[in-house]
C-alpha cells in the first residue's frame, strides 16, 4: 500500500549538505499500522512528508497503491493526494471556520456537491464523536477534540492511507490514549492503512504492527512490534524501550549482585507468558530466583513480559537454569556489571 524505495532527502544549509533522510525503505501492507520512532532531528518528519511529496525526495521512489508518486505530474499528484489523509501535531485547522466548515470546505474545494458534503461531514463527525460540536470554533475545543476534527477532515475524503505526523505529541497521556483508540478503530472498521511517526514508545506499543527506529536519517532497526519489544538490538531501540519500562539497573548494583549469581533479563512472549517458569527453575536447579524488576507490556498483537531476575546459586547451576529458560522460549540476556580492569 505504501512503499518507499531508497528514499533520500538532502537539504542545503550554510554548513553544507544535510542528509535528513538517507536511503530509507519502508513497506506498509494494506490494513497495517506501521510506526517510525526516533528522537527529534532524526528525520522522521521529513520522511513522512516525503510520502505525500510535501517534501520532494532527492532520491528514491514513493509508491502508493502501486502508483509511483515521484513520477506523477502535479495535477495527477493532487488527485492521488486526495487518497492520502494526513494529520499533524498542530492540528492545522482553520481558526475562522466552524468544526463543520473545517471538514466541509476541503470537500467543497474537491468538487463534492452540497448534499454529499453534508452527508460526509455528518458521518465522520459521528465517527470521531463530535456531532454536538459542529457549530463550535476550534478555539472553543480542547486539544484532543481539535485532533478529532482533523481526523474527521482527513477521513471525510475517504482515503486509503492515513499519515500521522506526531498526531498525539501535543496531547496529555489520557487524550493520547483516546486518539490512539480512535486510530485503531478507523484502522479496523474502515480498513485504512496508517503510517505514523512519533517519539513516544507508548504510541508504538499501543497501535503498531511494525516498527522502524530512525536515527540520523537512517532506519537503524526495524521489526514487527512483538519482535522489537522482545529482541531489541540497536542501542537507540533499547533506550526507547527504557522509556516505557525500567529495563536498566545501574552497573554498580549489577556488580554487587553478580558476586552471588547472575543478573539476567528474561523476556516472555506468547506461550511462555503463561508458564510459571521461575518456580520450575528453583525446583529443578539449585538456584534461587529473586525478581528485581518486572513488567508486562501489552502490544497491539500480543503481550511481552519482562523480568530482571537475580539468579542466586553456584555458577554451573545458574548456567543450566538459563539454558533451561532459553529452551522454554524465553529470551534471556545476561546483564553485566562494571568491568574492573
Amino acid at each position: 500500500m505504501i512503499e518507499l524505495e531508497n528514499v533520500s532527502k538532502e537539504f542545503k544549509s550554510k554548513s553544507g549538505i544535510v542528509k535528513a533522510v538517507n536511503q530509507v525503505n519502508i513497506q506498509v501492507n494494506k490494513g497495517e499500522i506501521h510506526g517510525v520512532i526516533g528522537y527529534s532531528g532524526a528525520g522522521k518528519s521529513t520522511l513522512i512528508r516525503c510520502v505525500n511529496l510535501l517534501e520532494q525526495p532527492t532520491e528514491g521512489k514513493v509508491f502508493i497503491n502501486g502508483v509511483e508518486l515521484t513520477s506523477l505530474p502535479l495535477p495527477k499528484l493532487r488527485e492521488t493526494r486526495n487518497k492520502i489523509g494526513m494529520i499533524f501535531q498542530g492540528f492545522n485547522l482553520l481558526k475562522t471556520a466552524t468544526v463543520y466548515d473545517n471538514i466541509a470546505i476541503p470537500l467543497k474545494l474537491l468538487g463534492y456537491n452540497k448534499a454529499q458534503v453534508k452527508k460526509r461531514v455528518d458521518q465522520y463527525l459521528e465517527i470521531v464523536g463530535l456531532t454536538d460540536k459542529h457549530t463550535n470554533y476550534p478555539n472553543q475545543l480542547s486539544g484532543g477534540q481539535k485532533q478529532r476534527v482533523a481526523i474527521a477532515r482527513a477521513l471525510a475524503q475517504e482515503p486509503e492511507v492515513l499519515l500521522s505526523d506526531e498526531a498525539t505529541s501535543a496531547l496529555d497521556p489520557e487524550t493520547t490514549d483516546s486518539i490512539l483508540d480512535l486510530l485503531l478503530k478507523i484502522n479496523r472498521e474502515l480498513g485504512i492503512t496508517i503510517l505514523l511517526i512519533t517519539h513516544e514508545m507508548n504510541v508504538i506499543q499501543k497501535i503498531c504492527d511494525h516498527v522502524y527506529v530512525m536515527e540520523n536519517g537512517e532506519i537503524v532497526e526495524q521489526n514487527t512490534a512483538i519482535n522489537l519489544f522482545t529482541n531489541p538490538t540497536h542501542p537507540t531501540t533499547k533506550k526507547f524501550l527504557n522509556t516505557i519500562s525500567q529495563r536498566n539497573l545501574s552497573t554498580s548494583l549489577i556488580s554487587q549482585l553478580t558476586v552471588t549469581g547472575a543478573v539476567t533479563r528474561l523476556t516472555f512472549v506468547g506461550e511462555s507468558t503463561g508458564k510459571p517458569l521461575l518456580a520450575e527453575v528453583s525446583q529443578k536447579f539449585n538456584v534461587q530466583p529473586n525478581i528485581l524488576t518486572a513488567n508486562i507490556i501489552e502490544l497491539k498483537n500480543g503481550i511481552v513480559g519482562n523480568i530482571v531476575v537475580h539468579l542466586i546459586g553456584d555458577k554451573d547451576q545458574v548456567k543450566n537454569a538459563i539454558h533451561y529458560l532459553d529452551s522454554q522460549g524465553v529470551a534471556t540476556e545476561e546483564l553485566e556489571g562494571q568491568s574492573h580492569e
Binding site: N92, K95, I105, L109, Q157, L163
Partner: protein, 223 residues
Amino acid sequence: MSRIDQFIEQWLPIIGESVVQTFQMVGISLFFSVLIGIPLGILIVLTRPGQALENKFIYQITNLIINIVRSVPFIILLFFIIPFTRLIVGTTIGVQGVIVPLVIYTAPYIARLMESALLEVENGVIEAYTAMGISTRAIIWNVLLREARPSIVLGLTISTVSLIGATAMAGMVGAGGLGDLAYRFGHLRYEVDVMYATVVILIILVQSIQSIGNRIAANIKKD
C-alpha cells in the same frame, strides 16, 4: 446661543462640502488602492523564498518598488508624479488630480500590511490543504485570505486613517476636503472656530472608522 446658530448657518454648507470631498477622495482612492495593494501583498507573500510560487526576481523587484514609493513623503510625491498624474487622469488639480497620488501613496502601504497579515497565517494549515490535493489557487482564496481576514480588516482600517491624513495635503492641488478647510480658513484666515470644528469632525471620523474596523475584525476572528 445665537453665535452658535450663526456659526452653523455660515459654515455648515462649506464644512458639509469639505466632508463630502474628503469622503470622495478617501472612498475612491481606497477602492483603487485595495485593488492594487491586495494583489501586490499576495504577490510578495507567494513569491518569497519557500512559498508556493517562489520567485526571487519578482519578489525582490516588487519589494524594491514598494520600498522606494514608501520612502517618499506624500507632500513630495504629490508634486513629484505630476506628469504621471496628468497622463492617467488628464488633470493634476481637484479631487480627480489627487486620486492618483493618493493611490500610489496608499497601495504599497496596503501591500505591506497585507504581507504581514498573510504571513501570520500558519504555514501548517496551508500544508494540510496541500496534502489534501487542493490547488494553490483554491488555497490562496480559502485558506490564506480567509484566515487573514481579521488582520486584513485591521490593516485596511489603519490604511483608511492614514489616507484621511494624506487627503489633508490634497488642498495643495485644490482638491478641497476637511484638512484643506482647516488650513485655509483656520490657519491662513484666523477663523479659529472653523479649525476647531474641522478637527472635532476629523477626530470623530477617525474614531468611528477605527471602532468599526476593530469590531468587524473581532467578529471574524472567533477567538
